[in-house]
Symmetry: C2
């Protein structure tokens, strides 16, 4: 069987990770990645053996910077079966005509609106909705993290209402331009935040209210999650349920902060120190006065990566069973 | 009428502010403040005209450091009608025998246990409980901030349940020893946190669940507050209710973060830039699906100061009506 040809449009924080994860699969391969600037990431892409493409108007400046483009982004798209668009939020939308013209399938990230793709995807919650689809949006890191915990709890106990405070890292570790460096920023100030409705693009029946702040940290988001459930259950029931989920890691053994979770990722030898799983603090999982509470850490740079791989598999109909795709992706990535 | 004689045991972040606030009142005066080290704060206390006392074993080292103590802490306590103990959490407890021996009243801060004093105090919520009492504990900054919003909402609409995420500044601005500098620290990891039960020391009938994290910021705490209410009300009803509370400030006009609130405090000419009020973001106040949500900023260094002044007035029976004490304290401090 020939491998599915995958192009990565936008080789940044998410794009470079998706490229590496796709390369680990036996049913898909990277045919090219696109960059707009000849920076260290472009050099490393070349060193890794990826064909680096550039927008037509950037081919010259890339060459001056020492990167000989394999062709234009249009060339790359033409050579692919499916494009994973990892351009910055709002830019991806503008690329849709390009993909339509070339007749290729496309995946966008959570920075784009649901309506652009029509299907919002989380591998654990709604794999089957992406089967054979041409356009799919893999939801954001926060929505991915919430989907992975809400879905199994809803399946097992029924979710009556979810309330979440999203404490967001304000900038990624490599981003030296953004703040704050010493403040808490309610964002948005008007409540509830847009994160709740985004969950409904994956699971429309979930009743959820979210509030969000930006914080002076770069490592991970942290969610405080509160759920009212339909059925009775115990703290241990929920811990056992989470333990069974392959993309939830229960955090214990003295790990008390997001910094220590990131150190765990490095000590585990993960590429770039990534933590692809929801990191749920085991001791925080508590049924209190009939309601579920817990803390989880979300590694914003990497949590959506396995879901991007699964989305490719669903859209290309390489695998009709979500559980099997998840198992395959997990095994290859080391989850 | 002679003024009530107030001693401040522990002239640090809280103690120096209480001393200044007491000095503004016409019914009480500072008879002394205590320091253990001859640092810049001790020098400024002397410059301000406060009699600076020291523990007997520290009198010599204070003198070597250029501060001639007016006497020992025991001397200071003997000269007072009431002591405001602003020593670090856990230390205040050890001073109780000293106050009992001298036959003086004492106020402790929120770092001590409720049981030490027997009465936990917030001027807005339970002024009358401190009337004539010998020992009172002014609750912590977080509990003060929550009491001030829960009490009026409970009076007006009945509070069925409160859920709060406390996002705590990890260290005060002058504290260079504590972290984290780049992490989110769930603290405590086990849920719910101790903050909920602390509210019950002021308002025992309130059903509340709290979660808390420590953050890499020094300026203020931020609470996301969710309340289920007994009676129907609108977003505007709650905004109007909060507007009527003299120790709640509705934050608007482009103030989007704790950093900008602190800048407001400085621009208002407040001593040390303090914000003694709960800082509730006006646009965040929302009734959503029948539940109340809002964000509030809590200036941990100063929010309890007016309540300490009111506690003195209640314990010394200078004023039996809490509203009148609050009005007097507010007027003198400029709230």
């Amino acid at each position: 069987m020939s491998k599915v040809k995958v192009a990565i449009n936008g080789y940044g924080t998410i794009g470079k990770r998706v490229a590496d994860a796709v390369s680990l699969q036996d049913d898909m391969e990277i045919v090219g990645v696109s960059k707009t600037r000849p920076n260290f990431e472009a050099s490393i892409a070349v060193d890794k053996g990826y064909a680096v493409y550039a927008p037509a108007e950037k081919v010259d400046s890339m060459k001056k910077g020492g990167i000989s483009a394999a062709g234009t982004v249009e060339d790359m798209v033409e050579s692919a079966d499916i494009v994973v668009d990892c351009t910055p939020g709002g830019i991806g939308e503008k690329n849709k005509p390009l993909y339509e013209k070339a007749g290729v399938k496309a995946i966008w990230q959570g920075g784009e609106d649901h309506e652009l793709a029509g299907v919002s995807f989380n591998a654990s919650a709604n794999y089957e909705e992406a089967l054979g689809e041409d356009f799919v949006r893999v939801v954001s890191c926060n929505t991915t993290g919430l989907s992975r915990v809400i879905y199994p709890v809803d399946q097992e106990y029924g979710v009556k209402k979810v309330r979440v405070t999203l404490m967001r890292r304000a900038a990624d570790p490599n981003d030296v331009k953004k703040g704050p460096i010493n403040a808490i920023v309610p964002n948005p100030i008007t409540l509830p935040s847009h994160h709740g409705p985004d969950i409904k693009t994956v699971m429309p029946h979930i009743d959820i209210a979210t509030t969000a702040v930006k914080l002076p940290t770069t490592l991970m988001h942290v969610h405080t999650v509160n759920m009212e459930l339909e059925k009775d259950c115990s703290t241990d029931d929920v811990k056992e349920l989470f333990e069974k989920q392959s993309r939830i890691m229960l955090i214990e053994k003295g790990i008390g902060s997001t910094a220590e979770i990131m150190e765990l990722g490095r000590d585990l030898g993960r590429p770039r120190g990534d933590m692809w799983e929801n990191c749920v603090w085991k001791d925080s999982v508590t049924m209190y006065e009939g309601e579920l509470y817990f803390f989880q850490g979300i590694h914003q740079e990497s949590i959506v990566i396995p879901d991007n791989v699964d989305a490719i598999r669903a859209m290309m109909e390489l695998e009709s069973d979500g559980a099997k795709s998840i198992a395959k992706t997990n095994k290859t990535m080391g989850i």
